[in-house]
């Protein structure tokens, strides 16, 4: 598989789309079809949160980096962390420009409130995998900040979620390699899908076109 050659890297945030609906992910990331340019919106979103990217905020026991570009060869993915807090920790790794040792803690900002599905968590875990690979350290936890409840939720980065992330990216690469947009079972979740107008989920269960034509012709 050529997944780990950089030009086939997938967008990290795509895991969210993929878990929501494989077809939605394919429409956005393979076919690059979207009504509103999702990438632009993501960009703006990140930009608002991180109005001064690359500027470090230093506190007594940590420093904070915003809009940190990250990637992982293993996952074959790139993206951006909203915020990474580097916490002083003697089990951590040394960071260039500082004599102390740190552990990175990824923090993702989300609109709305905690979701019932695991997509936010897996996105965070994917970021953790990237940070581990880039810094050669171990990331055991991260946070998700939800603006509706104005609170951070602590997310442990555990083994089974890591495995899940690896499997999901494998599947995404498989579709991407074949440039295949899957047909999926549509459902109530389609109502909140921004690509409804492109996907036309109502059509998915429609009669075969051949039946439509035969019926019309024989009227």
């Amino acid at each position: 598989m050529t997944a780990n050659s950089e030009e086939n890297f997938l967008l990290l945030s795509g895991i969210q789309h993929f878990l929501f609906c494989k077809r939605q992910w394919a429409l956005i990331h393979i076919e690059q079809q979207w009504e509103e340019n999702v990438r632009t919106i993501e960009g703006q979103h990140i930009h608002q949160k991180a109005d001064q990217p690359f500027i470090k905020e230093t506190r007594t026991d940590k420093f904070i980096v915003r809009a940190l570009p990250i990637k992982s060869k293993e996952l074959g993915a790139t993206g951006v962390c909203d915020v990474v807090e580097f916490k002083e920790d003697h089990n951590g790794v040394s960071i260039k420009g500082s004599s102390k040792k740190y552990i990175p803690v990824p923090i993702e900002y989300k609109r709305g409130k905690p979701k019932s599905d695991e997509s936010d968590i897996l996105q965070l875990v994917a970021q953790a995998i990237c940070l581990e690979e880039m810094l050669l350290c171990e990331v055991r936890l991260g946070h998700i900040f939800y603006d509706q409840i104005k609170r951070r939720i602590e997310v442990p980065v555990n083994y089974s979620d890591r495995q899940k992330v690896r499997e999901v990216f494998k599947e995404m690469h498989h579709y991407f390699y074949k440039r295949h947009t899957p047909r999926v079972k549509t459902g109530a979740f389609c109502k909140s899908c921004s690509l409804q107008n492109l996907c036309l989920p109502e059509l998915m269960g429609k009669q075969a076109v051949s039946t439509y034509i035969e019926r019309k012709i024989s009227e």
Binding site: I30, E31, Q32, Q33, R179, T181, R183, N197, L198, L200, E202, L203, M204, K206, A208, V209, S210, Y212, I213, K216, I217, E219
Partner: protein, 343 residues
């Protein structure tokens, strides 16, 4: 479904369009004569040599507003096309199929099915609505003939045969077309299609409406990521939007021809709206063209129920719906391309 927004028709040739913030500003001799917010617009058509600033072209391209330049008489000159949608896969499929005559025929067949079906039902409708004014027997015979051709077309997988059937259907339909013109008979008639130039008033209007329609179709095709210039029924010819012509086949009669006939039958146009050049070319006056465009715009807003999608949409969105369905077929989501079968 996408929304149908307004179309701006710029009919005076001596104006210049510029961008100001989020607005199109219409300038005439350095004076502002109009200002239209971009976000309400779906398309801008300019007739004659109206100019537009590069920044306006860019803004239109970015927002997928089609900006079209036509000659004064409505002949196509140019269209501003933005960066194409990044969907290489879809286009590659389109090109691959277009190069394969048999596969092309499978799609082309359905364009023709749509065309013949729609024309047949136009005739059926006329026999129902005006049994005392038209030669019902002749219409019924023609309709039967079209039905037979439909069955043949449905079972044909060869492009040249398809074209043959299509030609036969066109002859049959054109023979009775003139009878549907029920008013102002001395001034409006249809004997044969004449294009360059149109030699009678009906042909002048048909040429005009076909140009408008083909631009709408081309813009719709491009907005779903297809290449309007690579067709299945119409083969490649430099500068020709072959796929737009393909998709237009099913809409010509039921959308464009019917529109022209209604203008005559409702006496919206009359003989004074036209003049003849020394060459015999018949042209519309500027006033007539304005009237025509206004009614065309109204027609686009009229709602219908899409026969396959089953949703209520406006006539103006039919080209978009068909483009989307075609893209879905090319992506492998549908078993065939569903033509617009209107009755």
């Amino acid at each position: 479904m996408k929304k149908l927004l307004n179309t701006l028709f710029v009919t005076s040739p001596d104006v210049y369009l510029t961008l100001n913030g989020e607005n199109i500003v219409v300038m005439k001799e350095k004076e502002r004569i109009g200002r239209i917010p971009l976000h309400n617009l779906e398309a801008v058509y300019t007739f004659g040599y109206s100019g537009a600033s590069p920044s306006l072209m860019g803004a239109c391209a970015e927002r997928s507003i089609s900006l079209v330049f036509l000659t004064r008489n409505g002949r196509f000159l140019a269209r501003v096309i933005g960066k194409s949608r990044g969907n290489v896969t879809l286009r590659k499929n389109q090109y691959r199929i277009s190069e394969d005559e048999n596969k092309s025929a499978e799609i082309a067949r359905n364009f023709i099915v749509g065309k013949i079906y729609n024309n047949k039902w136009m005739l059926e409708r006329a026999t129902r609505d005006y049994p005392l004014r038209i030669d019902v027997q002749k219409f019924k015979d023609t309709s039967c003939h079209l039905s037979e051709l439909l069955i043949q077309v449905r079972h044909t997988a060869k492009l040249d045969l398809l074209r043959g059937y299509e030609g036969q259907a066109a002859i049959s339909y054109n023979e009775v077309f003139d009878q549907i013109i029920l008013q102002q008979k001395e001034d409006f008639y249809f004997h044969r299609r004449s294009r360059r130039p149109p030699l009678d008033r009906v042909n002048a209007m048909l040429s005009f409406v076909y140009t408008l329609l083909s631009n709408d179709v081309a813009a719709s095709l491009e907005s779903v990521g297809l290449d309007a210039y690579v067709g299945f029924l119409h083969r490649d010819r430099p500068g020709r939007a072959s796929l737009a012509l393909d998709v237009m086949e099913e809409l010509r009669g039921v959308y464009a021809d019917r529109f022209v006939i209604s203008l005559v039958n409702k006496k919206v146009v009359n003989k004074d709206d036209f003049f003849t050049k020394e060459s015999g070319a018949v042209l519309m006056t500027d006033e007539a063209r304005k009237k025509f465009l206004k009614h065309w715009q109204d027609r686009k807003q009229e709602k219908i129920k899409h026969p396959y999608i089953g949703e209520k949409i406006s006539w103006g969105l039919v080209p978009y719906a068909q483009s989307m369905l075609l893209a879905r077929y090319l992506r492998g989501d549908l078993d065939e391309y569903p033509p617009f079968l209107w009755k």
